[in-house]
Symmetry: C2
Subunit: 188 residues, 2 copies
């Protein structure tokens, strides 16, 4: 009895596998997905799913926590305010694209759980980035910051949903470039 629980390693692996499956299923089918769907996607019996997460709410919360954690950590590690605006946007987008389905679910379902955490660690960071760009004269001021934040999130989610099997950098480049410079061919 040296360890409090002997198989804590495996347990954590299965837990993350379940959350991963939940993210995939919820990203695709949205709220309509049931616990059976999640269990099936995770190749796990429904009872096992409930052993790991005592309720649907608990699973959703865990998923949201992981998503906010990863997105927030990625954004924090990106040192956005230490690089030029364009590079900062590229890093921010990359940090969120890497989160993948987790971020899609988070963006869609934020407000139902932990809207404060999301705002503090993701929304607020994007807002700060945009405002820094404004103060440098690089980001337009004729559109409310809140709209730009929503648009950026929306563009990321759209591309993540539309992308079939492209590499991460392709998506990051496309999102960053379209968000910053639009769909029109630049004069450059």
């Amino acid at each position: 009895m040296s360890n409090p629980s002997p198989r804590t390693g495996l347990r954590e692996r299965v837990a993350t596998a379940i959350v991963e499956a939940a993210a995939a299923v919820l990203a695709e089918r949205g709220d309509a997905a049931s616990m059976s769907d999640v269990a099936g996607a995770a190749s796990v019996a429904r009872a096992t799913l409930y052993r790991y997460f005592p309720s649907r709410e608990a699973l959703l919360e865990a998923l949201g926590t992981v998503a906010v954690e990863e997105a927030g950590r990625g954004l924090a590690e990106a040192r956005l305010n230490e690089v030029a605006i364009e590079e900062a946007f590229a890093r921010a987008v990359r940090a969120l694209v890497v989160v993948g389905d987790y971020f899609v679910v988070l963006a869609r379902e934020r407000g139902r759980f932990s809207p404060d955490d999301f705002d503090e660690r993701v929304g607020g960071v994007l807002r700060d980035l945009i405002e820094r760009g404004r103060s440098l004269g690089e980001i337009r001021e004729d559109v409310p910051v809140a709209w730009l934040v929503e648009v950026l999130i929306g563009v990321i989610v759209s591309v993540l949903g539309a992308a079939t099997s492209t590499g991460v950098e392709d998506k990051v480049d496309a999102i960053t470039s379209v968000f910053l410079d639009g769909a029109r061919v630049g004069s450059a």
Copy 2:
């Protein structure tokens, strides 16, 4: 008995009022909204709601049909291929913004009902518009058309969701301008 059904005028009015309420509720709460929520929002008894739409599925389908119809009609009447690209995008965006909550629900829930109708009357039109812009050298070719279509839809939905109580033209201008030229301050 000159008319097949005497109160057909009122009936239609109530029906559209119900669908309107459904669009508002579903746009805000998503799939989580129940028939009771819709009935409440429409200020109608639940039984009455079921008299007009025999099932939730029927209500959703009616909502989707109206949304596709209005969006498709607006796009068709916009004569997109008779004006310059920028004006065409503005008209397309306006046609979809005017649909409001209907379009938000449609964009979010498309694929669950009538994905073909949506593709034919909305998605395809946007795709054609983008491809015309490409052939004119005005729209970038380094991002897949499908992505651009999704991004445009995503931007519209994002702004519609973020906008508090702004006028339609403000939203249209912001969406069109951000989609075409991005969030960065142009060199112009």
